[in-house]
Structures are given as C-alpha cells and as structure tokens.
C-alpha cells in the first residue's frame, strides 16, 4: 500500500514536472519565436536599407559617368552660342546672355555646309547601305554553307580585320588613281559593294554571328516549298536580319561620317570634301588666323580669338548634329538590336 502510494506520488510528481517543463518549454519557444520575429523584422529593414544604399550608389556612379560623356556635348553647345561679350564676361559660365546664332552663320558659310553635307550623305549613306547588303550576303554564305576552303576564307576575314589600313594605303591609292577614281565617291562605294571598305570585315563577322544563331527550320521549309538558294536568302533570311542590319548600318554610317583618313586621300578637291574634312580645314585656317593675330596685335586678341574658337565649336556642332539626330531616332532600336545580334560572339 505504502509502496503503491509512493509510486503514485512519484508518478504524479513526474507528470507535474513534465507538465511544468512543457509549459516552460512552450513559453520559451514562444518567447524565442517572438524574438526571432523581431530580429527578422530588423533584418528586413537592414536589408532594405542596404538595397536602397546600393541603388543610390548605383545611380550616383551612373550619373557621374553620364556627366563625363555628356560634358563635351554641353560644352560644345554652350561655347558655340557664346559671343565676344559672353567670353569677356566672367559671370557667364554656361548660358550666354543673349540667343545669337552669329557663330553658326559664320561656321555655316566657312564650311559651305550644304555641299559638304551632300558629300557626307552620299558617302556615309551610300557606303553604309552597300556594306549592309553585301556583308549580309557574305555573312550568310559563311554561316550557312560548308565548302572546301571555308576555314581558310574565314581566317582571311579575320586577317582583313587585323591589317591596318595604312600598310596598304599606297598601292590602293595608285590603284584608284590608275582607274581615275580620285575625286569621286567610287573609292568608298566599290569596296563597300564587295563587303570591304571601312571595317567591312568586322561587319561580315557580325552577320556571321547573327545568321549562325537563326534556326534552320525556316530555310528548310522554304527549300521544301521549292525556293532556290537566292530566293530563300532574299525572301526569308534577309528580312529577318533586321537587327543585325540596323547595327551594321548605324556603325558604318557613323564611321564613314566621321572618317577623315580615307577621304583625305581620295578626295583632294575642296568641292568634294565631306563635312569632317571641311571642319578640319576650317580648324586649320582658324588656328592659323589666331596665331597671326597673336603675333600682330595683342589688344584685339582677347576679343577676337575666343570668337574664332566659338565659331570652331559651332562648326563642330554642325558636323555632329546629323549623326546625333540619327542616333536619337535609332537609339532605342540600336541598343535592343545589339543584344539580339549576338555581336559578342560565342
């Protein structure tokens, strides 16, 4: 009996103990859970603050780099608008006192703008379009066909990209002058027609990369429907290559527009000069005038020379303006295209 009672009491005590322990455990876990909830809350706040700080930093870097890229543009625009009095005025930093296009008028006349513009357009648009089409054809051939000598010719494309133009400039010049092509636009057009010309090999490589990524099913379908090789290319693949064409055309257009090396070789009569050449000539003249003035008088220089500089800036704005406008229009498509073109290789 006694033994039974003690056993019972013991059982009761253990039960109570476990119960109490259970309660205590429940309490602690609850408290711990609450604490954990609190800490995770704090953690989330820290995390969000971190993300915010990193975003702010990200924008700070982006903005400061944008400043580096935009600064020359704004500098050019601002200086081109300034007149003599603005230059002399110390309070004028960026925005001139009065809207005056006198510099532009002078630069416009000095460049003989429309003539230069026409030359630049013929050269840049003409070569750009020709390169776009011819490089697409060649790139398609390399990307879709395997023939004896494929590897050899492909390495020749890379080789062409690597050869600096100045090492073949002499024979090319003699070649073109034998043909009587000096002072025409043919030295730019004809190489472009053959997929060469300014960085032609690079454009061929871009098209090869692009066509390689295209699915072959479309062509097979066209072939089964009885289209020949040319028709398949022209009706199916060429229209699909629009992103690559946009990239190639824009590059070719801009590089031809800004190019001064080849035009200064093949166009030797001022009437045929493109805008970039005219600008260089104008700069040379203006620099000379500035030097002479500096030698002759010292009083006038302060007033006159800076305006010459401002006219030079105006000439620069006039030269860059057309490509800037084209870029503004095409910018969005351009960046998207670059991503789809696979310009990066594989």
């Amino acid at each position: 009996m006694n033994a039974l009672q003690t056993a019972w009491r013991q059982a009761l005590e253990t039960a109570q103990k476990t119960g109490r322990r259970a309660v205590r455990m429940a309490q602690t876990t609850g408290r711990r859970a609450a604490e954990a909830a609190k800490t995770t809350g704090r953690h989330a706040v820290v995390k969000r603050a971190k993300r915010l700080a990193s975003a702010a930093f990200h924008y700070l870097v982006l903005l400061s780099l944008s400043y580096v890229f935009l600064f020359p543009l704004f500098y050019m625009l601002s200086k081109s608008m300034m007149q003599t009095w603005d230059v002399a005025d110390a309070t004028v930093q960026w925005i001139p006192k009065k809207l005056d296009f006198a510099n532009y008028a002078a630069a416009f006349r000095a460049l003989n703008y429309w003539q230069g513009f026409a030359n630049s357009v013929i050269e840049a648009v003409g070569s750009g379009l020709l390169q776009m089409v011819s490089c697409a054809i060649v790139g398609y051939g390399f990307a879709r066909y395997r023939f004896p000598g494929h590897g050899l010719f492909l390495s020749l494309v890379v080789f062409t990209f690597l050869v600096p133009p100045q090492s073949i400039v002499v024979p090319l010049f003699i070649f073109f002058s034998d043909l009587g092509w000096i002072d025409t636009h043919l030295p730019f057009m004809v190489p472009s027609l053959f997929g060469h010309g300014l960085k032609g090999a690079l454009f061929v490589l871009i098209f090869i990369q692009f066509f390689r990524r295209m699915p072959g099913v479309l062509e097979e379908a066209a072939r089964i429907d009885g289209a020949g090789a040319l028709r398949t290319f022209w009706a199916i693949m060429f229209p699909l290559a629009r992103p690559a064409m946009l990239v190639v055309f824009l590059f070719s257009f801009v590089w031809h527009w800004n190019d001064i090396f080849e035009p200064s070789l093949y166009l030797r009569v001022p009437t045929y000069y493109n805008l970039a050449q005219r600008m260089a000539v104008f700069f040379g003249d203006a620099n000379l005038a500035m030097q002479q003035m500096a030698m002759q008088t010292s009083a006038d220089v302060i007033g006159v020379a800076p305006t010459t500089m401002n006219q030079m800036m105006a000439a620069m704005v006039l030269t860059v303006l057309p490509i800037l406008l084209v870029y503004l229009v095409l910018q969005r498509y351009f960046v998207e295209s670059v991503e789809r073109t696979g310009i990066a290789g594989e």
């Binding site: 975003a55 990200h58 982006l62 780099l65 944008s66 580096v68 890229f69 935009l70 020359p72 500098y75 050019m76 200086k79 011819s134 060649v138 051939g141 390399f142 066909y145 023939f147 494929h150 010719f153 020749l156 062409t160 690597l162 600096p164 100045q166 090492s167 073949i168 400039v169 002499v170 024979p171 190489p191 053959f194 997929g195 090789a229 590059f251 801009v254 590089w255 527009w257 800004n258 190019d259 090396f261 070789l265 970039a276 600008m279 260089a280 700069f283 500089m309 030079m312 030269t319 860059v320 490509i323 910018q331 969005r332 351009f334 670059v338 991503e339 696979g342 310009i343 990066a344 594989e346």
Partner: protein, 293 residues
C-alpha cells in the same frame, strides 16, 4: 533540253561559293593585291616619270633607313606601344565596369544606355580630337570649385599634377570604351540568371559569383575586346605612326619608304596580336575544359 544535273553536295558548295565569292573577289582586289604590291614597293625606289611610276630595286635600304636615318619613326613607335599598353587594360576594365552597371535592372536604364553609347557615335574620328584640343576633354571639376587648391593642401604639386593629367587621360579612355562596353553588355545578357540563383542558394557572395560565374562566362568577350581595342588603338586616326606614314607618302611622295614602314608597323601589330592569341588560347581552352568536366 536536258537539264544539267549536279549532285546535292556540289550544289551546296556552289551555292556557298556564290554567296562568299563577292567577298573573295573584293579580298583580292582590295586586300591581297595591294598588300603584295606594298611589299614589292617597300624594296624599291619609286620615281614619277612620264610613263607613270618607275621602280628600281634598292633591297633592304628602306628598312635600314627606318632605324638609321629616320629620327621620328622609332620614338613614334615607342609612344604608340606605350599608349597601347596603358590604355588597353584601362579600356577593358572600364568597359567591363560600365557594362556591369548598365546590365543591372534599374529605372532609366534605356536612357543611361543611350548616354553611354554616345562615344560610339561621336568619338570615332576628327570631332573628338578637336574637342580635346580645345579643352573639352578636361573635366572642369578639378579646376573649378577650388578643388585643385584644396587638394594641394594635402598632396604636393609634383604628385598632384601628374595625377590630374592621368584623370584627364582617363576621360579619353572612357570615350574610347564605347564599342567594348557594347560587346560586354551583349555578352552579359547571354549568361543565364539560373547560374546566379544557384550560386546564391549555395551562399556565394556577389564578389564570388562575379569571379566564378560572370568572369569565366565573359572571357570570350574579353578576348574579342582585347583584339578590338588593340586593332583600334593601332589604326585610330589620332595614331601618330599613321600620321607619320601619311606624311612620308603624301608630303614627301616617298611611296617606297612609306610602304616599308607600313609593313614594319604591320609586322609589329601581328606580333602583338600573336601574343594575345597565344595567351588567350590557353585560358579559353581552360574554360572549355572546366565546362566539360
């Protein structure tokens, strides 16, 4: 009329040649033949006469003259090499950096991309060069706002001025990096986000995932960019060796000597590019090996 029949394979070859022939003809006309002729010229003295150009053989005289007589050639060559060695790595680092920046999802990304690719549009030629001559390349932030004098208090002038010059040349580097940024950005877009997700699940930090994922994945683009930057820095319009060759050819009318230094320059470039190829072949092969294992 019986139709002329070709086997499938021959037809495939012919069609391929049909597309490529355009370029091959161009290659002979505008690359192979001029290259050969310029090699021929470099061993000859060319004189104008009423029959056109007359070539007389002079052997290696032009090549010797470049090292012995010409006072400009070697210094210019050295300058070009030095600028190349300093600028190309900087361009690569900077373009990688800005590509990573632009690749991040953020509001106004399109706008920033538009701004970052401005150099591609404007910088490729005479315009930028003139802008720099007129002082637009120097950021006024160091000169205005008294920052210069403020910095001078802490840093001695002998150190500060070269530093500022370096900062100015850095803006040039940034302007040169447009196309490279474009290539890196396009490369970054091809990396699957799943890789980063998996790395994050395994507890990798951003730093680790850059070096273990981004960098190896983008190594081919690094190679492309090294090639592009090298070729670009050798053939840019403001390259002084290029100017020198033009002067020799078109001011002095010395076609033979111009061809000779053109060839030497080309050989030098070939050596540099060969080194790059050798360097990258090993590391590119490594990446592939790792992917296969």
């Amino acid at each position: 009329m019986r139709r002329f029949r070709l086997s499938m394979r021959v037809r495939h070859y012919l069609e391929g040649y049909g597309f490529v022939s355009l370029w091959i003809i161009g290659f002979f006309l505008f690359m192979a033949v001029p290259l050969g002729r310029s090699l021929y010229f470099s061993f000859h003295k060319l004189t104008m006469s009423q029959h056109g150009l007359v070539a007389t053989y002079v052997g290696g005289d032009h090549y010797r003259a470049a090292f012995v007589t010409d006072v400009h050639f070697l210094p210019l060559l050295r300058d070009t090499m030095v600028t190349m060695l300093t600028n190309v790595p900087l361009i690569l680092v900077f373009s990688m950096f800005s590509a990573l920046l632009l690749n991040r999802r953020a509001v106004g990304r399109i706008l920033f991309r538009g701004i970052f690719f401005l150099p591609v549009i404007i910088a490729s030629g005479a315009v930028l060069r003139k802008l720099l001559e007129l002082g637009a390349g120097q950021l006024p932030i160091f000169r205005d706002y008294d920052l210069f004098n403020l910095l001078r208090r802490f840093i001695p002038g002998q150190v500060l001025l070269p530093l500022l010059e370096f900062a100015d040349s850095l803006t040039l580097v940034m302007w040169d990096a447009g196309v490279q940024t474009l290539i890196f950005l396009a490369g970054l877009q091809t990396i699957s986000p799943q890789l980063y997700e998996a790395a994050r699940c395994d507890g990798a930090t951003a730093w680790e995932s850059f070096w273990k994922i981004t960098f190896p994945m983008i190594l081919p683009m690094v190679f492309v960019n090294v090639l592009y930057s090298l070729v670009n820095s050798f053939t840019k319009t403001d390259n002084r060796v290029m100017d020198h060759i033009l002067n020799v050819v078109f001011r002095n009318n010395d076609f033979g000597y111009g061809s000779a230094i053109g060839w030497m320059y080309f050989l030098l470039i070939a050596v540099v590019l060969g080194l790059v190829f050798a360097l990258f072949r090993k590391s590119l092969a490594n990446v592939e090996g790792r992917g296969g294992a």
